[in-house]
């Protein structure tokens, strides 16, 4: 018996009900952050620490001057913010399954997708705080938006878009691994090589050939390049296209897997 057949016998949950459920669940996720402010620390501090660390430790060596390095590195960091928030979705989902909260939700007459979407909505809010801090703080340090506010928004949007595709991978991890700690650990293993094996922190020209090959196809390199052009001005077509292709491809592969797994577990 397939789920599709079963659903036909079911009363549909109306659009407005769905919105109400989504709102209530997003509120819940935000209240959780409020109740556990430490969980905001990474969103608040990582942009600041990364910025300070890289600009002042490596900046002079990599780019010749801190100022130039800010213009080079910050747009790349902006690009990965979406990825970082996306990978947190799986951790939250995992702990809901573990604690039995998910079972409670599943015995309520609500759409299962609302639970998922509310996680994404809350993480997006967290991400927006991260974006604001990152941009604000680096502007204090001297970041110059050479283009305009629209381009800056486009960079944030592109970062979020790529993040949304990675949400599916994060969900899959969240539902496949046993503990929230394991999800967090594996997420780091996904994020770290992608982040450092890219053009975010340093131009790839001095890297060995095999690494250059990796960075060339690493979506975060394209994302960093795109954000750089959006903030400093420059050619966009190629890098944006690559980011879009990656986002669509990751979604096409992992969304069906994640949804199937979610349906199986709920």
């Amino acid at each position: 018996m397939t789920t599709a057949v079963l659903d036909q016998h079911d009363t549909r949950i109306g659009f407005r009900s769905n919105l109400r459920h989504l709102g209530a669940l997003t509120r819940r996720n935000l209240m959780r952050i409020k109740a556990d402010p430490e969980s905001m620390l990474d969103a608040l501090l990582i942009p600041i620490i990364f910025t300070l660390l890289f600009v002042y430790v490596f900046g002079g060596a990599v780019a010749g001057s801190q100022q130039e390095y800010i213009q080079y590195m910050i747009p790349g960091l902006l690009g990965t913010t979406g990825l970082n928030l996306a990978m947190a979705v799986g951790t939250g989902l995992n702990s809901d399954f573990q604690t039995g909260v998910m079972d409670r939700f599943r015995t309520l007459p609500i759409g299962r997708s609302a639970v998922l979407l509310s996680k994404i909505a809350a993480e997006t809010c967290r991400g927006l705080v991260s974006f604001t801090i990152l941009i604000g703080f680096s502007m204090v340090l001297g970041l110059e938006i050479k283009t305009g506010p629209l381009e800056l928004l486009a960079a944030v949007g592109l970062s979020l878009l790529f993040g949304m595709s990675m949400v599916w991978i994060s969900m899959l991890l969240g539902m496949s691994l046993r503990s929230a700690q394991a999800v967090q650990g594996v997420s780091m293993l996904v994020i770290m090589p992608l982040q450092f094996g890219s053009s975010i922190f340093a131009p790839t020209t001095t890297m060995p050939g095999w690494l250059q090959a990796f960075t060339k196809y690493n979506p975060l390199s394209a994302l960093a390049d795109a954000c750089r052009s959006l903030i400093n001005g420059g050619p966009l077509a190629h890098s944006v296209t690559v980011v879009l292709i990656w986002s669509v491809a990751v979604t096409a592969v992992f969304a069906p897997l994640a949804v199937a797994r979610f349906r199986k577990r709920t």
């Binding site: 018996m1 079963l6 016998h9 079911d10 009363t11 949950i13 009900s17 109400r20 459920h21 709102g23 209530a24 669940l25 509120r27 819940r28 209240m31 959780r32 109740a35 556990d36 604690t99 039995g100 909260v101 079972d103 409670r104 939700f105 599943r106 015995t107 309520l108 007459p109 609500i110």
Partner: protein, 329 residues
């Protein structure tokens, strides 16, 4: 919509659920009449929780059918979810949220307006004596408070059918009594309850009828007294005027072909009654021989004895020392 018009709040027919080689539920039939409490009794791993999860639409059975409030668990899960409330070992509250926020959230998810959800949350917090703790995160609650919050959460939507999955496991006796009082109150107000438990005392306190399951199969069901009679019949207890007569009384009854035992601790003579005339015969024999009697009593076997007789395993006694869980700071 296929609604079954009858007075059974829960109807389970031939439910099977297998996990690999294990048949967690092996053709379970069960009925809960509207407005009553059915005690689902069984040892650990008997399949109690699996059945509750099937009836809550949390897992799909491999075979069989189940209707709750007239709704099919397989075909009408969303309508079914509107008629049930679940308090269990698994379905839980959000520890980071306050008691109030937990209840408000569930109210909103049950399509109450903001104002109604607020009113309902406040009302239930009051009723479950949680008003003082309403604004504290649930993780700071004691075991008993958390269980009460759990109960309150399952009642937000005024469900017709409540599943209580081992509602007092791990609670101290005082808190357990509080939970029992609440359950009794819900039943008075018209709820139908399916209660799973390992505690005989709990079943005896709350349930109108019992279904005993073991290894995924129903091995007995009926009213509590019915089950007791079925298993052991009655025990006659006689208190002699002089406790030193006890051995002589046993000997004398043996001559008349009646098997009796006595206990020096209680000073009581006990006879397993096999039929009604035996009582008169025993009292007659003892009287004729001139033994003084100060009291006689008949009693049904305890549920523990019933359970032992049916499953061959001792049930867990509710009087075993259980410590309340320390609140997590």
């Amino acid at each position: 919509m296929t609604s079954i018009a009858n007075s059974n709040a829960v109807e389970v027919r031939g439910i099977v659920k297998t996990y690999g080689e294990t048949r967690a539920l092996d053709g379970v039939d069960l009925t809960v009449r509207e407005g009553t409490v059915l005690g689902l009794l069984g040892p650990n791993g008997a399949g109690k929780t699996t059945l509750v999860r099937v009836l809550s639409t949390l897992i799909k059975p491999d075979a069989g059918s189940a209707f709750v409030g007239g709704y099919d668990v397989l075909r009408q899960p969303k309508q079914l979810r509107r008629t049930i409330g679940l308090t269990g070992q698994y379905a839980s509250v959000d520890e980071l949220l306050s008691g109030y926020e937990n209840l408000y959230l569930i109210g909103r998810l049950l399509d109450l307006s903001g104002r109604d959800a607020k009113a309902r949350a406040t009302e239930l917090l009051e009723r479950f004596s949680l008003t003082d703790a309403a604004k504290r995160p649930a993780k700071t609650y004691s075991g008993g408070m958390r269980r009460r919050l759990d109960l309150a959460a399952s009642m937000i939507g005024r469900p017709k059918v409540l599943y209580l999955d081992e509602p007092t496991t791990g609670l101290d006796p005082r808190t357990r009594n509080e939970v029992w009082d609440e359950v009794q109150r819900m039943v008075t107000e018209g709820s139908t309850v399916l209660l799973t438990t390992q505690y005989m005392e709990e079943a005896e306190q709350l349930a109108h009828e019992l279904t005993v399951i073991d290894k995924g199969r129903v091995i007995a069901n009926g009213g509590i007294d019915e089950l007791k009679t079925q298993v052991g019949g009655q025990t006659l207890q006689v208190r002699p005027t002089r406790p030193e007569d006890l051995p002589a009384m046993v000997a004398c009854l043996r001559e008349s072909g009646v098997l009796a035992t006595y206990s020096e601790d209680t000073g009581l003579l006990s006879v397993q009654l096999t039929d009604a005339e035996q009582l008169t015969a025993v009292v007659g024999v003892l009287g004729t021989r001139g033994f003084g009697i100060t009291g006689i009593d008949t009693k049904l076997p305890s549920l523990d004895e019933v359970f032992l007789a049916i499953t061959g395993k001792p049930g867990r006694s509710a009087s075993a020392p259980i410590r309340d869980k320390e609140p997590v700071a």
